[in-house]
């Protein structure tokens, strides 16, 4: 017996296994980042003073735009496969990965600047939570980029043999990538603007 519903949806749930699986995983990620947001709130409420204007808002705004753009290139890469345009898929997916690199580069400059002037995690609970939350988010960006690179490169061979299954995989990878964007959409105002 083969494992069913890997490509065809199960009639009563309307889902393929991987789609349900990734949403459940994302649910657990909501709880992970939720715990960090909760920690942020408790630490800030309990703090005597909380720093303002110590983070680079313009740079982070650019990074926000970078991630938003990578989100649309990601969904367009899936849409291209749905329209059977593999070359466009490669372009959009490539753009998504590149934008990921841009995000990481900007973060590298941000972090280096802070470290250079002694603003390290142990300096205050503000910097502790700032580095931990953006650091964990960054690890998730890197993870997503590794997966996307695999699907851009060696993994894309599956388009020739099982196009529908490959398209589903890109949709699932896209859901993860959009989630990473979604976390940043909340991280950015909370850490940088408030």
């Amino acid at each position: 017996m083969e494992i069913p519903y890997t490509s065809k949806a199960r009639p009563d749930t309307g889902l393929i296994n991987a789609k349900l699986g990734i949403w459940l995983f994302l649910a657990s990620e909501v709880m992970l980042f939720g715990a960090l947001f909760s920690s942020y709130i408790l630490l800030r409420v309990g703090a005597v003073e909380w720093p303002h204007h110590v983070l680079d808002v313009p740079l982070a705004t650019v990074n926000t735009a970078v991630l938003i753009t990578s989100s649309i290139t990601m969904v367009m890469s899936w849409a291209s496969l749905m329209m059977k345009e593999f070359k466009k898929y490669k372009i959009y997916m490539g753009a998504t990965i590149l934008l990921g690199f841009v995000f990481l580069t900007i973060k590298y400059f941000e972090y280096s600047h802070h470290f250079a002037i002694g603003e390290i995690p142990s300096k205050s609970t503000f910097f502790a939570i700032y580095f931990t939350m953006t650091g964990l988010h960054m690890l998730h960006v890197i993870g997503g980029m590794i997966v996307n690179s695999y699907f851009w490169g060696p993994g894309s061979k599956m388009w020739k043999t099982e196009p529908e299954r490959f398209t589903n995989r890109i949709e699932v990878a896209g859901l993860y990538w959009h989630f990473v964007d979604l976390v940043w959409i909340f991280l950015f105002p909370v850490l940088y603007l408030l």
């Binding site: 017996m1 494992i3 649910a27 709880m31 630490l43 142990s122 609970t125």
Partner: protein, 578 residues
């Protein structure tokens, strides 16, 4: 077509037995690994119980093996006692019970009971096991670190855990592995149960065991991540010098700590207990699932109140997320928040009572077969009852004041987990052994194992209520010997220790029985117990892919003694008569 279903060509030894993607092999891997960890965790306690019975006396035989930094001249140091305590709890809960109840039983039995060929994600399943294994090895490694293993309790409260020895860092890394393994597993279980049920197997026709695993998986999925976050924060405190959990003004051995301060020890407690409370329902739900299967089968009757049990399990799962701070009544919470948690805690006792009552009533009018699994399942009922009832005073803030962090608490939770869950797990092993091997375990050895364990469990844990009510705190290296209020109850320590060592002796009967029966147990027919659920409809042992043709389900799960039927059991996949 999923990768591992390589029909028509044989897998090599490594792919078949070590890096298998077959849920049955993975279930057995989880089973043996977790049983070894249970034995190891129990051994740690048997060593601790020497120190509690005879404080300051050299430990016989093994005292000299422990080394000068743990037990100089064979006498246990308090520091080592603390390591044993923290690791006993950690190993039993995270490396023993949950991997056995969920990883072993869940993996092996659940796909069979729903008529599936395997789990939804076989590769993920394999990874879950090996990440668990790595977490276990990491935890064991902590014992040889300078300063020894983690020693701040299984609860790892800061500030102590923040400044504890290196073993605590290793504990945190081990927990990250274990939590990851758990998350991968829970996604797999939920998707499998929703998506891979056989035709005709609606949710309300699922065996209660599957419902229990389903709810458990949601608890693991949504409650573990906050502990993962907390673990990361504690690692940051220990390795990057942050002060997530360190308040300002901390002084350690006369020196002010050189940290930024501004952190909150209570933040750790909230994040920890957010997981650790649902965790106790992770410990009990699969056990209830096993007991339900064994009782239905050995009373030759359907379960009484199946629907109530299912709704109770779902409600229990939901409520488990909003009771956690009943572990924190002594942290200075105000009346509003304290009332909230007391109320939710009282409410959560209701679904447990519903499930226990339904299982009791299921016995009424039954044609009871006192097989070894049934003995363990029957004993589970009053033992879990005692565990649950003794929890009530702990759940009310006022009565918790004299009981918090005393031996009363240890007695309470051990009754639920030890003669509770562990008995249910034994029931499951004796019950499903014929499914895995085509043989049965020896009944005589099983009865000795049961009666001996039952008496010893009560001998160990019942006195703890007495000792706790006298006010003796937990985690005391000398069992309270230095305290005036402990003097009248100190004699119980020796009694409990003898109970623990006797319990160890009775487990030998189980270990011998298990290994002997695998090779030499009496061979038995297919579906030896005459059960109705789908796992008994496969060949023995089930082949790769489980079912030759996809099964179809026509009936509820416990069609025993149906009036007019030829046999006293009607399998779920037997078609209705035209």
């Amino acid at each position: 077509m999923e990768g591992n279903h390589s029909h028509g060509h044989e897998l090599g030894f490594w792919r078949k037995y070590v890096f298998s993607q077959d849920h049955k092999v993975i279930g057995i891997q989880y089973g043996f690994t977790s049983l070894l960890f249970l034995l190891f965790g129990f051994t740690l306690m048997m060593i601790m119980r020497w120190q509690l019975a005879y404080p300051g006396q050299p430990i016989p035989i093994i005292g000299s093996w422990l080394g000068e930094d743990r037990a100089p001249q064979g006498i246990m140091l308090p520091e080592f006692y603390n390591q044993l305590g923290a690791m006993h709890g950690t190993i039993m809960v995270f490396l023993g019970i949950v991997p056995l109840a969920v990883g072993a039983f869940g993996n092996y039995v659940m796909p069979l009971q729903i008529g599936a060929p395997d789990m939804a994600f076989p590769k993920l399943n394999m990874m879950s096991y090996w990440v668990y294994f790595m977490g276990g090895v990491t935890m064991l490694t902590s014992f040889v670190m300078p300063g020894g293993a983690a020693n701040s309790g299984w609860t790892s409260y800061p500030p102590l855990s923040d400044i504890a020895t290196i073993g605590q860092t290793v504990w945190l890394i081990g927990m990250v592995f274990l939590i990851t393994s758990s998350l991968l597993g829970s996604v797999n279980f939920i998707v499998t149960i929703i998506q891979l049920r056989a035709k005709g197997l609606t949710f309300m026709r699922l065996p209660f065991f599957v419902w229990a695993q389903f709810v458990t998986s949601f608890l693991l999925l949504l409650a573990f991540p906050p502990l993962e976050a907390a673990g990361v924060l504690q690692l940051m405190d220990r390795l990057a010098g942050t002060s997530f959990f360190l308040p300002s003004g901390l002084v350690v051995t006369g020196q002010p700590l050189n940290v930024s301060g501004g952190g909150s020890p209570l933040l750790w407690q909230h994040l920890f207990w957010f997981l650790a409370h649902p965790e106790v329902y992770v410990l009990i739900l699969p056990a209830m699932g096993i007991v339900a299967e064994v009782i239905a089968n050995n009373t030759r009757k359907p379960l009484w109140g199946y629907k109530s049990m299912v709704y109770a399990a779902i409600f229990l799962g939901f409520m488990s997320f909003i009771v956690w701070a009943h572990h924190m009544f002594m942290t200075g919470m105000g009346t509003i928040i304290s009332t909230f948690f007391q109320t939710t805690t009282m409410i959560i006792s209701i679904p447990s009572i519903i499930i226990l009552t339904a299982l009791f009533i299921s016995l009424w009018g039954g044609s009871i077969r006192f097989t070894t699994p049934m003995l363990f399942a029957l004993a589970f009922l009053p033992m879990f009852g005692i565990g649950g009832l003794t929890g009530l005073p702990l759940g009310l803030s006022a009565t918790d004041i004299p009981l918090h962090d005393t031996y009363y608490v240890i007695g309470h939770f051990h009754y639920v987990v030890a003669p509770g869950t562990i008995f249910a797990l034994f029931a499951g092993i004796y019950y499903w052994f014929p499914k895995l091997t085509g043989r049965k375990m020896n009944e005589t050895l099983g009865r000795i194992h049961f009666f001996g364990s039952f008496v010893c469990m009560n001998a160990i844990f019942m006195p703890m209520f007495i000792v706790g009510l006298a006010g003796v705190s937990r985690r005391l290296w000398d069992g309270g010997a230095q305290y005036a209020h402990a003097q009248p109850v100190l004699h119980w320590n020796e009694f409990m220790s003898h109970g623990a060592w006797a319990l160890g002796v009775f487990q030998i009967f189980f270990i011998v029985n298990l290994f002997w029966s695998i090779r030499k147990g009496k061979k038995v027919e297919e579906n030896y117990w005459h059960a109705t659920t789908l796992e008994w409809a496969t060949p023995t042992p089930p082949p790769h892919g489980n079912f030759i043709t996809p099964p179809e389900v026509f009936r509820p799960p416990y069609e025993y003694s149906v009036p007019g039927a030829k046999k006293d059991y009607t399998p779920q996949n037997q078609p209705m008569e035209a």
